[in-house]
Amino acid sequence: MVWVELRALRDDIDLGTPPRDGAPVTLSIDGVDVTVPAGSSVMLAAATAGRPVPKLCATDTLAAFGSCRVCLVEIEGRNGCPASCTTPVEAGMRVHTRSERLDRIRKGVLELYLSDFPEEDLPGGWSEFHETLATVGVTSHPYGRGENHLAAPIDRSNPYFVFDPAKCIVCSRCVRACEEIQGTFALTIADRGFRSAVVASQGESFLASECVSCGACVQTCPSQALIEKSLFEGEYERAHPTQA
């Protein structure tokens, strides 16, 4: 229940999924035994064991969503690679967070994300997305500049933050933060597939929308597509040319 989810949060660590308060369950992560409350995710157990799994769409202030496929792990006795954020722990589970296969899959997924991210924004970046790329060791992608979102206009309407769709990886953390944490339901993901995009209310600007500017979306955005204006000197502009 929410009670525990909120009270057990810690500042210095993102457990990936909300803390739980079930009976203790012991499992092994990369050979290390760890005990966590029942109801916890494998991702949380891994973070607790000091073996954090790379992730994009998960964070411990939001319910697990399971959309980005970066957090895959191997579990002995199971086929395939389940997403650690949506897999609950079980007693005696033996989880592996690193392997050649996992590396390959994660790299592949991240390269796809990177192919639609402005390459000028890579060097010097310090967002969660940048950090995840660095942990997995992805610095480039084999796709060339293809279809991208550089034509989408930047929304500067809010006095305090900007939304640059070109940097959005559509993890929907902002949408979920608006619903689960703030309770305003101002954001949605419109459309599907490549065209899917974050929109405020019925496609309005952030300022004109139902958004109350609590900042929960900005705080949770892993890619700094939503970001405080105060971190820029002067107005936020793209470094890259606008192109279709």
């Binding site: 909120l6 944490i181 339901f185 793209r238």
Partner: protein, 709 residues
């Protein structure tokens, strides 16, 4: 510049804007605050925030901030910039001179809920040891003084019985005269979360607020009562509890005085409080009163949150008592998920209340007339203290008008804009010989001041705040005070200049003194707060890390008390000349009188105070949306822009009071709560009339002034 600058420093501190008291990490770059990130370990906010604390911090470096002390002999003269020594010396000389001519009791002081606990404590100490009287009050006088009175009378402690998280265990949530999603947004989000999980919601409010209806959260019962009928409606809810025997016999027997319960049940059980009688008076459906009563009494865990809609009435204290009575009768006190909880407006209203900034009480809610308590302070401070209660803030103004009160030291308050009956306050200000104002900006009140002492924002000093759930959290200095001194240092200097020697090296030493002299803070130290994050009082040997839920085993007086709460209608009535009832409130993006938020980008959402009026009342007066309208009451009038709204019922109009230009307090009367003189902001009979544009020229456009930052 696509890559954002990365902050190079981070300090945990507490938001000063509202009584939620959210924990933040103030992130700095090259010594400047560049963003505020909500602290995940903040026990009031768990990593959440609202637009004010999160973004509206840049007021601190606003060019309008006063950076040097100012003095003048007369309020018609221009200010002269002087040194700190000269300003303090001047202030002290003027105060001493007034006292020599008009008596010890001709001066007083008022402390601010925007200041830290340490600073509030020092201002009341200043009044008692340097002014040598008890003319000391705090700004909760005009918002939550009835809370202290009404909850002390019933439960025995004038503070919230729960911690905020308790709402996450509630099955039924009763919100009375509060709009948490706007006034206390982070708590409002928690409340909505609980409602989405299935809790039932009852709202008592004349207005269809956002709390009444928003996506995935709507009230099961909304009692849109007529302003001024709170006590009647709450008594009527109690009537149903009594007549339908929904009360908890076992709880009443073990935790309350049975005879007082009988006395109370006889009063509220009388036919005059039946829903069928009260409903028409309050213009609500009697059946809704019954539904509300049954829901609340059934629980199993029912909790009450209330705000200024309860307190700012001529029966404000009575209204608070009604809530205490109701919770006691239904056994909804002393566990997780229940309780009676004020939602406090300004950041440190609870601190203002606990730390002795009262004319009749020392810190820890102990009467100045109590000889033992008084002598404990006399020993601690080595001075004889005034044994009689002093003047309350409104009475100080009354006395100024009567010519018996001549000087005041005001810490961070703007009474000319925020207190009721503006003309009366202005007359009082003009009648005083020395007004010493300590603030960040030259406010409306500064127009009437003789000495201006530039204060410091909460980013510029160390200290603590006590939020609405009794939680004491650290305020940490991020940047140096813009004008050189933190507020506590200014008060210390003024005390010294008045001839009482005072010295502290750091606010932590003031906290030690608070702990030594105030029972509920006995165990409170900076080291403890640093270790556990924040501490809810009472904190003492029995509760070394503080107390989340009050009254679990006993009440402060052993048993709790039922109070008799007869409904006495306010003298302020609608009639033919003033047929509408005006009630007031606040919006999310602005903060109280807006001294700070008006100087931030928050004006993007709300650039002026608007008058909400029902379509029916507007049509009857030929008013269309956006028209400038004159709003007049028995005491004065002002011009606002009309907004047609379905949030208010016909017969009721509503406005906020965030902008000085709108002078909302020019129309509110000086009627006040019987017990505490808390002003009746929530009920004013008015008439509204369309005005032609030429009549509004005197009205400056608020936006231009406010956005220049």
């Amino acid at each position: 510049m696509p890559i954002p600058r990365k902050p190079d420093g981070s300090v945990v501190t507490t938001c000063a804007y509202c009584g939620v008291g959210c924990g933040f990490k103030a992130e700095t770059l090259g010594g400047k605050v560049v963003r505020m990130i909500p602290w995940k370990e903040g026990k009031a906010n768990h990593g959440h925030s609202c637009v004010k604390g999160r973004f509206a911090f840049d007021y601190y470096a606003h060019p309008d901030r006063v950076r040097t002390p100012l003095i003048r002999d007369h309020i018609d003269e221009p200010w002269r910039a002087v040194t700190w020594d000269e300003a303090i010396g001047h202030a002290a000389t003027r105060l001493r001179d007034i006292q020599a001519r008009h008596g010890t009791k001709s001066v007083g002081a008022v402390s601010s809920s925007r200041c830290t606990n340490e600073e509030i404590f020092l201002v009341q100490k200043f009044a008692r040891v340097a002014l040598r009287n008890n003319n000391i009050d705090n700004c909760s006088r005009i918002c939550h003084s009835p809370t202290q009175f009404g909850l002390s009378a019933t439960l025995g402690a004038g503070a919230a019985s729960q911690h905020f998280d308790s709402v996450l265990q509630a099955d039924v949530i009763l919100v009375v005269g509060a709009n948490p999603t706007e006034g206390h947004p982070v708590f409002g989000s928690m409340l909505k979360r609980r409602v989405r999980e299935g809790a039932r919601l009852i709202v008592l409010d004349p207005r269809r607020t956002e709390t009444v209806n928003s996506p995935h959260c709507s009230a099961d019962v909304h009692l849109a009562l007529r302003p001024g009928t709170n006590v009647a409606v709450l008594d009527s809810i109690a009537h149903v509890v009594v007549r339908e025997k929904l009360y908890r016999e076992d709880f009443i027997r073990s935790r309350c005085h049975r005879d007082e319960f009988e006395q109370w049940a006889a009063l509220v059980g009388d036919d005059r409080y039946s829903p069928e009688v009260v409903g028409p008076q309050a213009r609500i459906d009697p059946e809704d009163i019954r539904r509300a009563a049954r829901l609340y009494a059934a629980g199993p865990r029912s909790t009450i949150y209330y705000g200024l809609g309860v307190t700012e009435h001529s029966q404000g204290s009575t209204g608070v008592m009604c809530l205490g009575n109701l919770a006691l009768a239904c056994g909804m006190v002393g566990r997780e998920g229940v309780g009676v909880n004020p939602l406090r407006g300004q950041g440190n209203v609870q601190g203002g209340s606990c730390l002795g900034s009262w004319p009749h009480m020392f810190s820890g809610y102990r009467f100045v007339t109590d000889p033992e308590v008084r002598s404990s302070f006399e020993r601690a401070w080595d001075i004889t203290l005034d044994a009689e209660p002093g003047l309350r803030l409104p009475n100080m103004f009354d006395a100024a008008v009567a010519g018996t009160f001549k000087g005041i030291y005001i810490q961070g308050e703007d009474p000319v804009q925020s207190d009721p009956n503006r003309d009366h306050i202005v007359a009082a200000m003009r009648a005083m010989e020395c007004v010493i104002l300590q603030d960040l900006f030259l406010t409306e009140t500064a127009n009437f001041a003789h000495v201006f002492l530039p204060g410091s924002s909460s980013l510029e000093k160390d200290g603590t705040f006590t939020n609405a759930e009794r939680r004491v959290s650290r305020v940490r200095k991020i940047v140096e005070p813009l004008a050189g001194l933190a507020d506590w240092e200014i008060t210390v200097r003024l005390t010294n200049a008045m001839g009482y020697a005072l010295h502290y090296d750091h606010p932590s030493e003031v906290m030690l003194e608070i702990a030594r002299t105030s029972p509920a803070y006995r165990g409170m130290t900076y080291a403890l707060i640093d270790r556990v994050g924040s501490v809810q009082w009472p904190c003492d040997e029995n509760a070394p890390e503080g107390t989340e839920v009050l009254h679990t085993a006993t009440f402060p007086r052993g048993k709790a008390n039922f109070m008799l709460t007869e409904f006495v209608p306010t003298r302020e009535r609608a009639d033919d000349r003033f047929p509408l009832l005006l009630t007031t409130g606040r919006v999310l993006s602005q903060y109280n009188v807006g001294t700070q938020t008006r100087r931030t980008g928050n004006v993007a959402w709300y650039a002026e105070d608007l008058l909400e009026i029902s379509a029916q009342d507007a049509a009857a007066r030929g008013i269309v949306d956006g028209d400038p309208v004159a709003v007049s009451s028995r005491v004065g009038s002002t011009v606002l822009r009309a907004r047609l709204s379905t949030r208010v019922s016909p017969g009721v109009v509503y406005t906020t009071f965030h902008f000085a230009q709108s002078k909302a307090n020019a129309i509110t009367t000086d009627l006040s709560d019987w017990a505490t003189n808390c002003p009746e902001y929530k009920v004013t009979a008015v008439e509204v009339m369309r005005v032609t544009p030429s009549m509004t020229r005197a009205q400056p456009t608020p936006v231009a002034e406010a956005v220049e930052a």
